[in-house]
Structures are given as structure tokens and as C-alpha cells.
């Protein structure tokens, strides 16, 4: 919609018009992501992946994020215990703090916060990198050399992000539990064995599996949004900045919405 056309719209129609164009924009983005995902699935059958790119991205996205994810998860474990403390003190049930904290961390807080950190660090950087390649015509150069950009550039990144968020989530779960044990000991005088008793008794493998399944879903969401916004950059260097911003925002909303539905599906 050009500026002149918008100024022609009658006053009463400005709000509906903007809402309509916003809905159309969101629909176009969702459709574009769907098409991108379908194209990637097509290239998986049979798998045509550049092995060097894959290992390079696995290292860059995974190993380099371990420190950030582990420290975030350690603090998050502590915070969960502090916030659960009023509840268990109110019902005079400090013995079940291991269950309350472990449940909240494994099912919700740890996968969600680790995914948000991963999206900020890896997703945003990936969008910026792809966007810079697009505005400097490097993707067209690849096409001119008869190299398929999707299977050479995008597929290794998507696979690396999903694999590494999955792995980092397991690391994060463990450090979050360590953080929870430390702060339960310091603040509530719940010692290690009492914490582990209620944790092991009430938390089963399914709680841990939920965390893992969620992290795979979040990884898919983050990788597709960040690659899509990177590939559709327009307008030079400022366009790359805008794309990074919208990729991070879209990934955050996507992760929250996916979390909501997975809460129902994975009861």
C-alpha cells in the first residue's frame, strides 16, 4: 500500500485497513516459512547436506553457547526455588520443594528460557549472517555456480540449530537442577538428600521427555524463522538490522505459542 493510496482512504476505514494489511503480512510470512520448511524437507529425501558446513555450524552454534546456556540455567534454577518457596512454606511442605522446583524447571522454565537465550544468540546472528550474504548477492553467486543455496547454506544451519538446542537443553536441565539444589540448601535449609528424595519420587522420565520434545519443537521454530527472515532481507544494511529484529520477535512469539499448544498436547 503506497502513501498516496493510504491518504485516499476514508477516515473510518484507516483502522480496518491497517488491521487487514497486518493480517495479510502475517499470513504471507507464515506461508513463506511453510514453503521454506517444505523445500528443506524435500532436500532431506535423500539427504543432500554439506558435511563441512554442518560440522562448522554445529561447533559455532552449540559449543560456543554452552557457557551462556549453563550460566543462565544455573541462575534460573535458583530463581525457581526462591519463587516456589512462599508456596511450600505456606502449605508447610518444604519436603516437596524438589518436586515443585524440578517440575516447574523441566516442564516449562528451563526449555523456554534456554530457547529464548538461544534465539537471541544463535538465531539473531544467523539471520544477520544470511541477510548480509543476501544483500551482497552471495546467494545469487552460489546459484550461478550451480550450488543449491538451500541444501548448501540453509539445511546445515537448520539441522545444527535443532540438534544443538536439543543438546544444550539437556545440559541446561542438569545445571538448573544444580542451581535449584544450591539455593534450596542456602535459603530453605533443605539438604541434598531431602531434595533428591522428592525429586526422584515425583518426577518421572515423562517430565524430562517433555523438556526434550519441547526443545526440539522450539529449535525447529527458531531455525525456520531465523533462516526465513535472513533469506528475505531487502534494502541493504538497514534491512539486515530490521530483519534481525523481526526474526527475534517472531521466534519469541512462535516459541510461546508452541509452548502453549504443547502444554495441551503433552499433558
Amino acid at each position: 500500500m503506497t502513501e498516496e493510496a493510504r491518504s485516499d482512504t476514508p477516515f473510518g476505514l484507516i483502522v480496518p485497513e491497517r488491521m487487514g494489511s497486518a493480517v495479510l503480512g502475517i499470513a504471507a510470512e507464515l506461508g513463506g516459512m511453510g514453503v521454506l520448511a517444505a523445500q528443506l524437507v524435500r532436500r532431506m529425501l535423500p539427504p543432500k547436506i554439506d558435511r563441512y558446513e554442518l560440522t562448522r555450524n554445529l561447533y559455532k552454534m552449540g559449543n560456543k553457547s554452552v557457557g551462556i546456556v549453563a550460566s543462565t540455567a544455573l541462575f534460573v534454577g535458583g530463581i525457581v526455588v526462591i519463587q516456589a518457596a512462599p508456596l511450600v512454606v505456606r502449605f508447610s511442605a518444604t519436603a516437596i520443594i524438589g518436586w515443585a522446583a524440578g517440575f516447574a524447571m523441566l516442564r516449562e522454565v528451563a526449555p523456554l528460557l534456554i530457547a529464548l537465550m538461544f534465539s537471541g544468540r544463535v538465531g539473531a546472528n544467523n539471520t544477520a549472517e544470511l541477510g548480509t550474504m543476501v544483500v551482497t548477492d552471495q546467494l545469487d553467486a552460489l546459484r550461478a555456480l550451480a550450488i543449491d543455496p538451500l541444501s548448501y547454506l540453509i539445511l546445515p544451519r537448520v539441522i545444527a540449530m535443532i540438534t544443538m538446542l536439543f543438546a544444550l537443553n539437556i545440559v541446561g536441565d542438569l545445571t538448573a537442577i544444580i542451581g535449584a539444589i544450591i539455593s534450596a540448601n542456602a535459603l530453605l535449609d533443605v539438604d541434598f538428600s531431602l531434595f533428591m528424595d522428592s525429586f526422584l519420587e515425583m518426577i518421572d522420565a515423562w517430565d524430562f521427555m517433555q523438556s526434550v520434545i519441547k526443545s526440539i519443537g522450539f529449535g525447529l521454530m527458531i531455525s525456520i524463522t531465523s533462516c526465513y527472515f535472513g533469506l528475505t532481507v531487502k534494502g541493504g544494511a538497514p534491512g539486515v538490522g530490521r530483519a534481525v529484529n523481526s526474526a527475534v520477535v517472531a521466534a519469541a512469539i512462535g516459541v510461546f505459542v508452541m509452548d502453549y499448544f504443547s502444554t495441551y498436547i503433552l499433558k
Binding site: I68, S71, T72, F75, V76, G78, I79, I82, Q83, A85, P86, L87, V89, R90, I96, F103, A104, R107, E108, L113, L116, M117, S119, G120, R121, A124, N125, A128, E129, T132, L187, A237, P238, V240, G241, V244, N245, V248, V249, A252, I253, F256, V257, D259, Y260, T263, Y264, K267
Partner: protein, 284 residues
């Protein structure tokens, strides 16, 4: 024994750029390098915060750009925060309700507990995490691209302090708007939670909306958290933007670092303020 260390990320101080050189280090130096980098980082952030607060106290506030920042940080984020908070409120109620049903026969206190949890923790923190991704990235990209195109040096040459023009409006807007959006988040998450409790667990609205557990301490903790996060996001992101180097690729890195480091700052402040809240206002 000497080993070759990885070159550190270069940190340019605001006044005089300090460049790390790549000379071989001893093992001790290599092991303490992350610590000293962290210390330098903290010093840079502290310097920027001090300069900004000084400028505000001396009244060097540009009113027009402050209003522009208030609009872009606050009004621009309302929709994003609202969508996230609706989802968060519903997730919280469904998860907490399902677990409570395992140990307690009835859910009449679910709402009171969730409202306290929202006020103390989720409303300010998740709101600030979302603001860090949206606003932090924007601030770092804006200031960073001004730095790499030498516009900040141009400001300095014409006798204008970059901190006054760039950081002060963002700090004021960040603090005010994080505070406002935190209370908005609490309201929205509460509405969505009430809806979920009503449809999922057949809880009455009057049973669910129960403020009896929320005391003054919770509001104080929530306000303190919102102010701390609201100051941390613009200071961390502006510092990352002002220390950008290396062209448009550097702007990309500054943006990524702004988001990641503001998020870490938020989680660290959350831990500190939660411990403070637990000790200052112990649960009754």
C-alpha cells in the same frame, strides 16, 4: 609454560579506546582472561551508567528525543508484550492447575498463588526478557550503525556529548516503559489466566481473582525489578552499540551481544532481587 590464547574481543572505552594485543600469555593469564574481560565489561557499564545518571541529574535531557524513545520503546512493544503475556498466563494456569490437582483436592487457592507468582516473578521478568529482544536489539543496531558511520564522532566534534543525546533518552524511556509494561503484563496475564481457569477447571472468576496473598512486599519487589531491568536493557545495549567496531558485520555482533547480555543481566538481577525480596519480605 606458555600457550597462545585466543585474542580477546576488543573493548573500546568511551573516552579512550583500549586495544588488546595478541602477545603470548602464561597459563594463569589465559585462565584469568575471561575474568578480567568481565571486570572490564562491568567497569564500562558502570562508567556509562554513572555518566548517564549524572547527565539526567544535571538536567541535560533532550525532551523531543525522550518522547520519541518513549513511543518507540513503549507503544511499539505493547502488541508484542500483550500476545506473549496472554499465552504465558494461560500456560501458567494450565500447568499449575494440573499439578495442584495431583496433591490437593480443590483449586480455590490457585488464583491467589498464581497472582502472587505473577507479581513477584513472571510479569516483570518475562516482560523485560521480551523487551530485551525487541528493544535491546534495536538500540544496539541504531547506535552501532551511527558509530561505524562516524556519526558519533561527528556529534563529539560539534561539542555535543553522545551520552546526552543517545543514552539519556533511552535510559529514561526504558525505566518508565518497563515499569508501565510490567503492570500491563500483570493485568493481561491475569485476564488470560482467569479465562483459562474458567474454561479448563470451571473456576469462578470471583474465586480465581483473589489478591489476598499479594502484599505490599510483592508490589515493592515487582517495582524494583521493573526499574532495575528497565535501566539494565538500555545501558547494556547502548554500551554494546557504542563499542561497535568493524563495519556492518560489527553492528551484527553488537546487536547479538546486546540481546544476549541484556538477557543475562535480567536473569542475574532477577536472582539478586528475588533473594532480596525473600529476605526482606519473608513468606508468611
Amino acid at each position: 609454560m606458555t600457550i597462545q590464547a585466543q585474542p580477546l574481543t576488543q573493548h573500546h572505552d568511551l573516552e579512550d579506546p583500549v586495544h588488546e594485543d595478541d602477545r603470548p600469555r602464561t597459563l594463569v593469564q589465559t585462565m584469568t582472561a575471561p575474568l578480567s574481560a568481565f571486570g572490564q565489561d562491568m567497569y564500562g557499564l558502570w562508567t556509562l551508567l554513572r555518566q548517564t545518571v549524572q547527565a539526567i541529574l544535571q538536567g541535560r535531557v533532550d525532551r523531543e528525543s525522550t518522547f520519541a524513545q518513549l513511543y518507540s520503546i513503549g507503544n511499539g512493544s505493547v502488541l508484542f508484550i500483550t500476545v506473549t503475556m496472554i499465552v504465558l498466563g494461560m500456560i501458567l494456569v494450565v500447568q499449575a492447575g494440573m499439578q495442584t490437582q495431583r496433591v490437593l483436592p480443590e483449586l480455590s487457592l490457585l488464583g491467589a498463588n498464581i497472582i502472587q507468582l505473577l507479581a513477584r516473578e513472571f510479569a516483570p521478568t518475562v516482560c523485560a526478557m521480551m523487551l530485551a529482544t525487541r528493544v535491546g536489539a534495536g538500540i544496539a543496531a541504531e547506535i552501532g550503525s551511527m558509530v561505524v558511520t562516524d556519526q558519533v564522532d561527528a556529534l563529539r566534534m560539534s561539542g555535543a556529548q553522545p551520552v546526552d543525546y543517545l543514552v539519556v533518552p533511552r535510559l529514561i524511556a526504558g525505566v518508565l516503559m518497563t515499569l508501565a509494561l510490567s503492570f500491563w503484563s500483570l493485568f493481561i496475564a491475569l485476564m488470560a489466566g482467569t479465562f483459562a481457569a474458567n474454561t479448563q477447571f470451571d473456576l469462578n472468576i470471583s474465586t480465581f481473582v483473589n489478591f489476598s496473598f499479594v502484599n505490599m512486599g510483592d508490589y515493592i519487589v515487582m517495582t524494583l525489578k521493573a526499574i532495575a531491568y528497565g535501566a539494565a536493557i538500555p545501558i547494556v545495549s547502548s554500551q554494546r552499540g557504542l563499542t561497535t567496531f568493524g563495519g556492518s558485520e560489527g553492528v551484527g555482533w553488537a546487536t547479538t551481544n546486546a540481546v544476549v547480555h541484556s538477557s543475562i543481566a535480567i536473569i542475574l538481577l532477577d536472582l539478586i532481587l528475588s533473594v532480596f525480596g525473600y529476605i526482606a519480605f519473608p513468606p508468611v
